[in-house]
Symmetry: D2
Subunit: 328 residues, 4 copies
């Protein structure tokens, strides 16, 4: 079965062919018409949102966002700094007097941040394959200096709410809840996690799948070090077919880069991105904080929930910060 083979074997020395083959096998180009800008979000329909809402049993709420501040992991790669938040008015100014009448005082603030500085969704204009974007468009027709005028993140802003399911691979497969750096999560690991977690962990069309590796927990314990761009557990290139055939709407991890690092090919860079964003049109979330949710799921054995993870609609953005909320 070619697809199964494609999922399993990797020839480390031939990334070009492997990427091309996976792209061909997994392409969703044209599936929802030539004008489509939603990609796999097309799988997330109203029925799926009703299903998600029905999962809210206790009313517990979990924010899956890391913090947005200067103490983050970014080190300047491709000009990505940590967010810089500054005040234009403070309580100290208010105490001193700001010129407002009758004792009114205020504080106000601004932020400068790369849109991929912390918890975020990759938009469909974030990654290209040989100069081509999702749905076969030319990269330069999609994203110019004015931003992504076709698949800008604002096109997804109302859609990402539905059934979420946590696959805590770190807990099921790892040691003390964590996978080591360089650990490639394969289809087998995903399926084993689903099986171990039980009925609530089933994955299917339109779901939003959260894969916990434990990488963030380790960074919390040991310091950021090379969290941004360094070695990390993550999805194997061989999961491309699974990500395609399960027809999930999106997938997010607690790592910087979603896929395993070092990458599985000699000299490649984020090859799974190169397949799943431009060819599948898959929405990928990175740098999510899944730890509190995972502890709760482990405690009650329920791995499904309503997930509302609508990105901030920065017009034309190729990625956007988000404060994902899981309701159980």
């Amino acid at each position: 079965m070619p697809e199964q083979t494609g999922d399993r074997g990797i020839d480390r020395t031939d990334p070009e062919d492997a990427i091309a083959a996976a792209a061909k096998r997994c392409s969703n180009w044209g599936r929802w018409g030539a004008d489509d800008v939603l990609g796999t979000l097309n799988f997330l329909d109203e029925a799926k949102r009703r299903e998600g809402a029905a999962l809210v049993r206790r009313g517990a709420s979990f924010s899956l966002a890391q913090s947005f501040d200067a103490d983050g992991p970014q080190k300047g790669w491709r000009r990505r700094t940590n967010p810089v938040h500054t005040m234009t008015d403070t309580g100290l100014d208010a105490e001193r007097g700001q010129g407002f009448p009758h004792g009114f005082g205020g504080a106000d603030d601004v932020v400068f941040m790369p849109l991929q500085a912390s918890t975020q969704w990759d938009g469909l204009g974030h990654i290209f394959d040989h100069g081509t974007a999702y749905n076969g468009r030319r990269a330069g027709d999609v994203v110019t200096s004015e931003g992504d005028r076709v698949t800008g993140i604002e096109t997804a802003s109302a859609h990402i709410a539905g059934r979420g399911v946590l696959l805590d691979v770190g807990r099921v497969v790892g040691t003390d809840g964590e996978l080591p750096d360089g650990f490639a999560i394969t289809v087998e690991h995903l399926e084993a996690t689903i099986a171990a977690q039980g009925a609530s962990a089933h994955v299917g069309r339109g779901d939003l799948v959260l894969v916990r590796t434990g990488r963030l927990a380790r960074a919390r314990r040991e310091g950021w070090r090379d969290y941004a761009g360094g070695d990390s557990p993550g999805l194997s290139f061989t999961t491309a077919g699974w990500l395609h055939r399960t027809e999930i709407a999106g997938v997010a991890t607690d790592t910087w880069g979603f896929e395993v690092r070092p990458n599985e090919f000699d000299g490649a860079f984020q090859p799974l991105h190169q397949v799943v964003i431009p060819h599948l049109g898959l929405f990928i979330g990175e740098m999510w904080d899944l730890d509190a949710l995972a502890a709760d799921c482990a405690a009650d054995g329920v791995y499904e929930f309503l997930l509302v993870a609508a990105p901030l609609p920065v017009t034309g953005a190729v990625g956007a910060p988000v404060n994902p909320i899981a309701l159980k």
Copy 2:
């Protein structure tokens, strides 16, 4: 009944006393302990979230965010510009070659924005009364140049999900769905709207109330003009008591400044803010886009929904952008 009187009469010439009196009547200081940082979000409990989730009947999703871009209404007041979104890599660069291997290409971006530039929640450190912040803290002990170290918006990041209810005052009381600038929405208007909209519009403890004035619809039709800071319909100062006794968790409008402008006192500035943020600890949302949701509510007659409106957790922020999602 003093409170009723307080709701009704305004002596335009004496804002100091009116603000002090309303602050005293409506104070929640100490209600949830000296260390409380959540204010009215304490009303929003798990039961309320279950109630909200149960309102998702069709699975329809509405984003209530305005866009975040350079075409917004900001004009520089107190250094508030519109968001400036710039690219660090584009599809054109990818087509030309970016130094990545095997045909990989990417686009990336950054944003600079005042946190109150577009759709946002005011945090509890945003407004002070005579140098005092929510729960009786000194303003300068709460918000320094390092941000709000006590009630920073991150403390609210997981909480704002619950039952939302739309009060379309523009449609019920206004003309062609819009209230004129300077129109002060009183308790009578709010109650009349609730009554006109029917059973689904009831308002109570822990609810998130969205008040639509039609001001944004007018700005869309006529251009921004003075949307940011100029004349506008909005809540009357006299609603302070209602906002307090209903025990709602938060309130948001489709206007720049929540309360009516010009303000109802000679020489005052946002007097309702001065009461409800530091004294009630009320969460206020501004610049929300309620039009699509309002059209849907008018069509099906259902004015309640699950509202998930978790602000972006910029550490120490006194306000934060949000992409609020209403699920019906």
Copy 3:
């Protein structure tokens, strides 16, 4: 004499041909070799700097910079905002205590600004003609999302110091020191100004020429209004030949856009830029404040001085802020 004709006549209806003809007449491509990145700064040699230094007779110093702050003229055209300067530490924080030992306290700050927000030099990568940059390079080979990797402003950072000469056309030709909006300064006006100002106003090879129109003085008096991008006096398209044959090193004005606005052709946009930046390789300064210097020159009748106007070397910038200093 074709060049003279080229300087004088304008066919408003045919900008394409006029631009092409002027570009051909005035091209400096290849003049300093295929690798040249300095353009007309090649005219500014050590002898010219000695000549400039010898003009410092009194030791008076004039800053020719407008201020850099939120109260500037920018209105958001092409995402150009005014500079936003914010504090990360203040004296109020220092009084309260910042965690430093032994009474040490500090203030610190950041700025966000478009590089053309206020007083600046245009770099040679700022303007292209039909996709071609200075010296015949492809625009996309010069300026990518990584900035101008060929003629970035840092290549000019040590060069712009030499003899400056002020041509106060506003004072000589205008009324009360100001030219009206839409006034096109021709070669005749420039030459008449030089003649009226006397011997110290001669212009030649390697000079840095400052043309005062009085537009900034008017904006100071009346408010910014449309200073940024609106109607203005400025150089006529017909001065291209003069700018070329005088072999000046650079030219700056007290206007937003250097050339007259509205432009002199139907439907054109900054046609003189399109000729002189990519074809001459001329350095253009905009939004300079020439008023104090001009008053001094009018008082003592000396229109030449040492000008040190080294742009801030933001790597890869296509323009850069500058605080030009004239020493007389």
Copy 4:
């Protein structure tokens, strides 16, 4: 001689007293009136500028600025990032078409940067001693969230042009042109350098003194490592008296922090700053690139020059970037 003693002895265990004593000995408060905002720039008069201009013999120009870009030394201390320069239009966009008529194309850009990210002058509002700023003002009366409304860097914008003198302590006292980290430059080292360099190196009232340590050369060779904030050669605390009695107008170094690091007192932080900025009103330049100028001075034996180092006048800034130009 108390002052000499003050210059020489350091009791590492008593920074409080040492700082207080030096502050008392070296105070310039009131020297130029209660309203003074210029501090030691008052020493830099027109005669000094004439003297500086007369030093331009060859017409050689040296930029003393480090670059302003993402590859700088900043690591996030107190939210100081490296400058982030992004494009809003590029040559690639111009080739593709930007909507301008007749083949016009353009590139444009913005920058976000801490004002102390690279080569800069400290303003007089940058450092306080026990809550007090230069000339005895309260820190909070000088610098609020609106910036420095009294001694903002714009007040100095026209003044910093005069005679510069290079003291290449690294070359005279160090090994291979470099002083080791932790090396405290004393008055003896300064005087020895002056003596070794000869007549052109004399230092006096109104001069701008550049002290080269070789620290930047080492960072260039070895990488930035801890250039920003780590160990470094620099001026000894004991030079406070020399900086005062020489009546120099300003002093700059090729290091991050001007004074030696680790500092010479147990548990102190930049004690020399604490004396010379608020008490002397001395202008300090940091992160200057003195290497090319120093090589030239070593070659021709002339250590004096015209220095034009006018900071970018960001209104209210407590420090500002500068591209200093030395003309010999």
